[in-house]
């Protein structure tokens, strides 16, 4: 399995941090953009992106491809995405195992599907068509979900594994999403991570969420919690050198707090490397 080279430790690029990033050049190896926020004719967002792209690797992460929707693929959207990719030259392009709407409506959310043979065949075919159109392998992310369905014929990780292998796509493992969904649906998050094909994982997402006691919601407005850090360590041990990043989309802290979270990743990874070196010696 040929994978893009690891990029190191990254951050979701958000407008609130533009000026500080450009003026202080903090220790961030790469940035992930929300593709839709830059699918514009011009203006400040694209100007800032161009400046940051001049100095950093960038990956494009979309939220609207609606890979699991039964509506036709939106080729206007895909054309705009391709145009942006020609400008950004991202290391890769990602989206989700999710749908965002049907009948021409878009709900601006990553909606759940039953994990059935029908859903699997549907999403595999659409990923393949998107990959043909974009002329590159797509990176597909597991989403957080709050409901699960009696019609499901397999577990989420079995679905993701078979989807990736049949579509020959790459994977973005959102460690926080694994934890949130495992809490909400009562599955073992470690088994999920052990069940996805590690050789196809090119990126980790780390983020915070909201704990509502009976369910957890993927809000990206909190620091990464201890349970997700523990799961990160497991994912890192299993998947090896994979580009990792912090997503923060609300309740923005000073940039230094996000840099501390990146440092935490580095420390965990250094510890794992040291253990491996010692056991090999």
């Amino acid at each position: 399995m040929e994978k893009p080279a690891p990029l190191g430790y990254g951050l979701g690029l958000r407008p609130i941090y533009y000026e500080e990033i450009l003026s202080s050049r903090p220790p961030i190896d790469w940035f992930e953009i929300i593709s839709e926020n830059y699918m514009l004719a011009g203006g400040r967002p694209l100007a800032m992106l161009d400046r940051i792209r001049a100095d950093y690797p960038v990956v494009m992460h979309g939220v609207s491809m609606s890979l699991a929707s039964t509506d036709p693929l939106n080729f206007d959207y895909l054309r705009q995405l391709k145009t942006l990719a020609e400008r950004v030259e991202p290391a890769w392009i990602s989206d989700h195992v999710a749908w965002t709407g049907v009948h021409g409506v878009t709900l601006h959310d990553l909606l759940p599907i039953p994990y059935t043979r029908e859903s699997l065949a549907h999403i595999v075919e659409r990923i393949q068509r998107v990959q043909d159109f974009l002329k590159r392998r797509l990176v597909v992310e597991n989403a957080s979900t709050y409901v699960s369905f009696v019609d499901s014929e397999m577990s989420e990780h079995e679905f993701v594994r078979e989807m990736a292998e049949r579509a020959d796509c790459l994977l973005l493992l959102d460690v926080n999403n694994v934890f949130v969904s495992s809490f909400n649906h009562g599955f073992d998050p470690v088994a999920f991570i052990d069940g996805v094909p590690a050789e196809r994982v090119v990126q980790f997402h780390m983020a915070g969420h909201t704990n509502n006691e009976t369910h957890r919601v993927d809000t990206h407005d909190q620091p990464v919690c201890d349970e997700v850090w523990a799961l990160y360590e497991h994912a890192r041990r299993r998947c090896g050198d994979v580009s990792a990043m912090i997503e923060r989309d609300d309740n923005y802290p000073p940039l230094a707090e996000l840099l501390d979270e990146l440092q935490n990743m580095r420390d965990i990874d250094a510890r794992i490397s040291k253990e491996r070196a010692l056991s090999a010696a």
Binding site: N37, G101, H108, D109, F149
Partner: protein
């Protein structure tokens, strides 16, 4: 249940909330291992959808919220979300239909001051991300022979929008976005008085300026491609008051200074054979 049927049902639950129509969907849900009620879990999606769309409208329309007050603004947003579900995958475009919705909706169309504010704020949002162009300075005129000046025509930045607003809209917007913004801003009186505004982008930020009636007419004509000399002769322009070429020259200078002009050319008598100039 086929995937398409499931998605129709699920989407209906998100758009319309709980009700009798949910029953087939509820039967398809596995029970939560933590004891969360199925309705609570579906509400995560429904509430999230409405909060997200309401946030987009709030971000783009601080002035509208300020003059309507929170209660009326929230009612407007609810109406808009209910009646105009988002159809563009890019959330940026959800709010762009709000002024048209208000003008077409019996509950809101008579509130001309609110519609005026919505139009102004849409222009501000649109200006922010239109295509990039490079503004010219007034020195560009030095490249043209004096005998050509009457035939000069100007190309304007694509972000430029000219608006006819209810008088007081701009003052209310200024108050709403000021650092010490009050919770509620007085709504402009809808007494038939109007004011004119230009909205455009400069240095990556949306900008606006109130225009005198004569400058509004001149800028409208100039942005329609009419030549400097012709604008003075135009009936519409003359109706706006006594117009001297000096006043028009003053306006032109300010358009350059404001970064509105991106091209100058000599307009030929035969309008179809205009030749762009790179002066």
């Amino acid at each position: 249940m086929k995937l398409a049927d499931f998605q129709s049902l699920f989407q209906q639950r998100v758009l319309a909330g709980s009700g009798e129509a949910d029953k087939p969907l509820l039967k398809k849900l596995r029970p939560s291992p933590r004891g969360a009620a199925p309705e609570t879990l579906l509400d995560v999606y429904q509430r999230g959808y409405r909060i997200r769309l309401a946030d987009f409208v709030s971000q783009d329309h601080p002035g509208l919220r300020a003059i309507l007050g929170d209660e009326a603004f929230d009612a407007l947003v609810d109406d808009y979300i209910d009646q105009r579900p988002s159809r563009n995958p890019n959330a940026r475009w959800f709010t762009t239909g709000l002024p048209d919705f208000m003008r077409e909706n019996a509950r809101w169309r008579d509130d001309v001051a609110a519609v005026s504010m919505a139009l102004f704020e849409r222009a501000m949002v649109d200006a922010f991300d239109t295509a990039d162009e490079t503004p010219m300075t007034v020195q560009a005129l030095a490249g043209f022979a004096p005998e050509d000046w009457a035939r000069l025509a100007f190309e304007f930045d694509p972000s430029l929008t000219l608006l006819e607003l209810v008088a007081g809209t701009i003052e209310a917007y200024d108050a709403a976005i000021s650092e010490e913004a009050p919770e509620k801003v007085d709504k402009p009186a809808a007494g038939g008085q109007i004011e004119y505004a230009a909205v455009w982008r400069v240095d990556h930020e949306s900008a606006f300026r109130q225009l005198e009636p004569d400058e509004y007419v001149a800028l409208s004509e100039a942005s329609a491609g009419h030549a400097f000399g012709d604008i003075c002769q135009m009936t519409a322009f003359q109706q706006a008051g006594e117009i001297a070429p000096e006043r028009l020259a003053q306006c032109l200078s300010s358009w350059f200074e404001d970064g509105m002009i991106i091209g100058v050319r000599v307009r030929e008598d035969d309008q179809s054979s205009n030749t762009p100039s790179s002066a």
